[in-house]
């Protein structure tokens, strides 16, 4: 609750021995141990929970080989973020709670060892995150090293055209047609050749756990290796004008023989 308002009055609410150097009140070692143990529990419990619970932490289920790797990396990052957040919050809470009760402020201006430590630890943390990023990029691409199927993806204002190797086209136009459905075979590497003749769009299937821009004048290629059958939503994810939010599509992943039968029928 706030105390009186207005400026500080002489003699009240003023640290009486504020600037006496090295005047330390005797600190209770019991209190320090209690703070330490509670802090340790507050950091450890959520971190261990995040690390071990069976959850994608809001990322939808991955349906591709590469998507699985991204989720592994995401879970590692969530664990690290939880640990760091808890450490900083514990320090903040201890500082605030103990500062509320203290009558004499220490006049320390810093501590070179502590400052070096809390610079070095973040450096190590970001170095490990960078190492993980390198690992992730390396782990991805193993399953998609060789393409089995090429689908040309044309993004336009406002819809999609998917063109299969035999010339079959699936077209969807916002406001005119149904949402277009791209049929794909499971356990085969698909290469999407992304093209635009107007503005930049982006090809995004949340369950692929990746996306790539569709850029006029640039040949972008996205490869995925689906591992599960089913049907999932896709969206345009680079603002492209009026009907940007109405350029949705669907991806239907089916068994390979079902895909081949379907493709043959469309010829």
């Amino acid at each position: 609750m706030p105390e009186e308002e207005g400026p500080v009055e002489e003699g009240r609410d003023q640290a009486p021995v504020e600037d006496e150097p090295a005047l330390r009140t005797r600190r209770s070692p019991v209190l320090a141990v209690v703070y330490g143990l509670v802090g340790l529990v507050v950091v450890a419990v959520p971190t261990i929970w995040v690390a071990t619970v069976d959850s994608n932490f809001a990322i939808p289920e991955s349906v591709t080989a590469d998507g699985d790797e991204v989720i592994v990396a995401w879970r590692i990052m969530m664990t690290m973020a939880t640990a760091v957040a808890m450490v900083v919050l514990v320090l903040l809470v201890i500082a605030v709670v103990s500062g509320a009760r203290r009558r004499t402020a220490s006049q320390t201006k810093g501590s070179v060892p502590l400052e070096l430590a809390y610079t070095a630890v973040p450096v190590l943390l970001v170095a490990s995150i960078f190492a993980m990023s390198l690992w992730l990029t390396d782990a991805m691409g193993d399953a998609t090293a060789e393409e089995d199927l090429v689908v040309e993806v044309d993004g336009f204002r406002w819809g999609w055209r998917f063109t299969y190797p035999n010339g079959h086209e699936v077209v969807g136009v916002s406001g005119e047609t149904e949402v277009p459905v791209m049929v794909l075979p499971v356990d085969r590497t698909v290469s999407f050749e992304l093209r635009s003749n107007d503005v930049i769009h982006a090809f995004f299937v949340p369950n692929f756990v990746t996306k790539l821009d569709v850029v006029p004048g640039q040949d972008n290629e996205l490869r995925v290796h689906p591992t599960r059958t089913g049907e999932w939503m896709g969206h345009c994810a680079e603002f492209c004008g009026l009907d940007h939010a109405r350029m949705n599509f669907r991806v239907r992943i089916v068994e390979q023989d079902e895909f081949e039968d379907w493709l043959a029928e469309q010829a």
């Binding site: 605030v96 402020a105 990029t137 821009d213 004008g241």
Partner: protein, 552 residues
């Protein structure tokens, strides 16, 4: 013979303590304090306009397929919301604080170039009016996002003069910001009080100095980029036109080469505000002054190396290089958070509104800062790029930092500027509503983004299941708006009571507290000796010379 005593030397007239009154005196002022106040009031008006646009967008998103707003209006609103918040609120509010405080902090009577300073303010106002005027044109305001990506922003896909007004407005405000940068750098290097070495300057002065150097380096780039777009749109150039040999992605490189340092241009002054408040309300020196300065310099230097982390999905960048540089910048930022926490550690905390807002800032910035290194990883970023995860991240670090630190600064310096105190009770209600509302608005957006909800979507599929979190976010935005509105209530209520503040209501450390509230036009009648980074503290506790002797 009588010797006439020589006529006594006339005592110099004490300088006037009254500032001139009347509207004309404000319009023609070159006094940095008045310019700072005008910058602040104008920025807050633009903040309100940008905020209303946001509230309307949030209302639209509470239902998947609602049509409260036309699609055209929605697209214009998110474009103008971003442009107004970045260029007409956040950057000018930092300029407001700099204008008011930098001369006082270094012990100078005004900025180095007072008339240029006035020009800067009026260019800002003019630019803002030009930007808002785009709403009145036949095709309306620009609707391509504040980032203006080509080819969408060219004359084919965005005909109409609204986009050209946008370019003109940002050129004007860019010049205004550049002028302020020149003024701050010159003032800091040339007008410091005797005894104030660089490493005895207040930390707010350091952050403004470093930010101003960043401004001088990057605003010319974005201004040139806008000119290139203007020439593409109006004179048949093809810088960004792929059909004629131009490169669309070039825009992104140029924009983000400015755009990433720009977010540090926004945030660094607010770091400075927190660095001023936390030591005063902990009754301690700041923990690690030199580390703060080095961290500020590091953040500014690294910020110009990170830009393409906005472009990982273009397929046109060497991603791992930018992953490394982006991760590196998290280190000095983390160091600052530890410095603030350890400044409070061992202190005698005085829980007044400035400190409470500062603590909220630290929590909010911590959350936003943790999602930054996540976004630095290209193969993770490719999932969440252009989704609400990014929207959540930048609102935490930009709005969270700017807003909570701004109010911390307003509560802290209000007594100095006006001579009277704001009410603590209303301030705390405001903080509670803002903290709850802000987190309720933006935390769910992390989840929405991870689930795949793209940004800049006027509507979303019903089957997505995204409505629940959108409703939560919309409710949060309403609570946040009420909290912010309470500040206006506080000003009105406190203006009636006018509890006098005196020169130094908070027992501050820095020179602005050595003069009256409000200061006279020339700022200081006399200056205390400057022997450390806490000259007022030394003067008040009579330790002048003691610290210097200890330091040897």
């Amino acid at each position: 013979m009588t010797v006439t005593a020589p006529a006594p030397v006339a005592e110099p007239e004490p300088a006037a303590h009254e500032a001139p009154r009347g509207l004309v005196s404000w319009i023609t002022t070159t006094d940095h304090k008045r310019i700072g106040i005008m910058y602040a009031v104008t920025s807050l008006v633009f903040f309100a306009i940008g905020g209303i646009l946001a509230l309307l967008m949030r209302a639209e998103l509470a239902d998947p397929q609602a049509d409260l707003l036309s699609t055209q209006a929605y697209n214009q609103f998110f474009t103008m919301h971003g442009t107004i918040m970045m260029f007409l609120f956040a950057t000018p509010m930092a300029a407001a604080l700099a204008n008011y405080l930098v001369p006082l902090h270094v012990g100078a009577p005004d900025m180095a170039f007072p008339r240029l300073n006035a020009l800067s303010y009026w260019l800002f106002v003019g630019g803002g009016l030009v930007l808002l005027s785009s709403f009145l044109t036949s095709r309306g305001a620009p609707d391509f996002g504040w980032t203006g990506y080509t080819p969408l922003s060219n004359a084919i896909y965005t005909p109409g003069v609204g986009a050209d007004l946008w370019i003109a407005a940002l050129a004007l405000t860019g010049i205004a910001t550049t002028i302020t940068g020149i003024n701050v750098v010159t003032t800091v290097f040339s007008l410091r009080a005797p005894g104030m070495t660089m490493f005895r300057m207040p930390l707010f002065t350091w952050t403004m100095l470093v930010q101003s150097v960043l401004v001088l380096l990057t605003f010319p780039v974005i201004t040139a980029t806008f000119v290139m777009l203007f020439i593409d749109r109006n004179f048949g150039a093809v810088f960004f036109d792929a059909t004629e040999g131009g490169v669309p992605v070039l825009w992104q490189h140029l924009f983000w080469f400015f755009g990433h340092p720009e977010v540090y241009i926004v945030v660094l002054p607010f770091f400075g505000v927190i660095s001023e408040i936390v030591p005063v309300f902990s009754r301690k020196p700041v923990f690690g002054y030199t580390a703060f300065v080095l961290a500020t310099l590091a953040i500014a230097a690294y910020s110009v190396t990170t830009w393409a982390h906005h472009m990982f999905t273009t397929g046109a960048v060497e991603s791992q290089f930018f992953a490394a540089t982006t991760l590196l910048i998290a280190v000095p930022t983390g160091v600052k958070i530890f410095n603030w926490v350890f400044t409070m550690w061992g202190g005698r905390l005085w829980f007044r509104t400035p400190l409470l807002y500062a603590i909220s800032f630290i929590v909010v910035f911590l959350i936003g800062g943790l999602t930054g290194p996540m976004l630095a990883i290209p193969d993770f970023d490719k999932h969440v790029h252009d989704t609400y995860f990014v929207v959540a991240h930048f609102h935490y670090v930009l709005l969270g930092s700017a807003m909570f630190a701004m109010f911390a600064g307003l509560y802290y310096w209000w007594p100095k500027v006006t001579g009277w105190m704001l009410r603590e009770s209303i301030g705390i209600w405001q903080l509670v509503l803002m903290f709850v509302g802000f987190n309720l608005t933006f935390f769910p957006q992390h989840v929405l983004g991870l689930e795949g909800m793209p940004r800049r979507y006027v509507e979303y599929p019903e089957e997505s299941g995204w409505q629940g979190l959108n409703v939560l976010s919309t409710v949060g935005s309403g609570i946040l708006a009420v909290g912010i509105a309470l500040f206006v209530v506080n000003v009105i209520v406190s203006a009636r009571r006018r509890v006098p503040a005196g020169d130094d209501p908070w027992q501050g450390n820095t020179l602005e507290w050595a003069t009256s509230s409000p200061p006279p036009p020339h700022n200081f009648d006399r200056l205390p000796p400057v022997r450390s980074e806490r000259p007022l503290h030394d003067w008040r506790t009579d330790t002048v010379g003691v610290d210097a002797a200890r330091e040897g």
